[in-house]
């Protein structure tokens, strides 16, 4: 006697589990096999003063930019390694989300830009005395970069120049 094929109900229940498993397996394999660029040797800069006296900048990979002021990030071979400077007193929720990748959920940041650039949280920590001061300028990059050589070689020095000009002690990096 031949077996009955799975009922539609059974398939409907099983397919999402298969999809999840396939996604997890694929992502684990991709992480294991991908030629991640390794920092070696690892540089180390001690915090020069207590956090409560330090000036802190934020760096986001969300591709946030000021519409009408900054150029949007663009899709390009290897990725757009340019950066945008975001003033500390910007209207946070007015920033556009310019990340060129679609491999993340935009909804949290659409609802609350602090999820990419937590300026309100930084200001609260300054008010509470946990952080000395907020940098006058923060930095936004488009984190979807497949060829990171330019990011290290070109963007790194440029962003460092911005933060050093503002006498920044420490930077908090927020990916998406």
């Amino acid at each position: 006697m031949r077996k009955a094929p799975p009922t539609p109900t059974g398939c409907a229940l099983w397919r999402p589990q298969l999809k999840t498993w396939q996604t997890l397996t694929a992502s684990h394999a991709a992480i294991a096999l991908y030629p991640w660029r390794r920092i070696d040797p690892i540089p180390w800069a001690e915090l020069a003063r207590p956090l409560s006296e330090s000036r802190v900048a934020l760096v986001t990979s969300a591709g946030l930019y000021r519409p009408g002021v900054d150029q949007p990030f663009v899709k390009s071979l290897g990725g757009d390694t340019s950066h945008r400077v975001i003033p500390d007193d910007v209207d946070l929720q007015s920033l556009a989300i310019g990340q060129t990748s679609d491999a993340f959920d935009r909804a949290p940041m659409q609802a609350d830009r602090n999820m990419g650039l937590p300026l309100d949280r930084l200001h609260e920590l300054v008010s509470a005395g946990v952080v000395g001061s907020a940098a006058p300028r923060h930095v936004s990059i488009n984190g979807s970069i497949l060829a990171p050589g330019r990011l290290v070689r070109d963007t790194g020095p440029r962003v460092a120049d911005v933060l050093r000009a503002d006498q920044v002690d420490a930077a908090l990096f927020v990916p998406v």
Partner: protein, 83 residues
């Protein structure tokens, strides 16, 4: 890819004397890239600080990350978000 990008850029800034800490959405990528300091979080892509419009949740992540700035080396310093 963002976890690699922020890690590499953090390394480039650290080379130039700026102390850095990264939030890492994928611990295994942070282990491979090796930024100087990173806090691994168990959140989805697009939600590195946990939940939108939840200041307490976001602060919990940020404060734990900022605490790593004062942690002694040697690098890499890679910690997990505590409950």
């Amino acid at each position: 890819m963002c976890t690699q990008s922020v890690g590499l850029l953090a390394g480039a800034l650290e080379e130039r004397g700026i102390t850095t800490v990264c939030i890492a959405l994928v611990r295994r990528i942070a282990e491979r890239v090796r930024p100087p300091r990173a806090l691994a979080v168990p959140f989805a892509f697009g939600a590195a600080l946990g939940r939108a419009n939840d200041a307490a949740c976001q602060l919990r992540v940020i404060v734990q990350a900022l605490r790593l700035l004062s942690r002694p080396g040697p690098p890499p310093v890679l910690a997990d978000l505590e409950a």
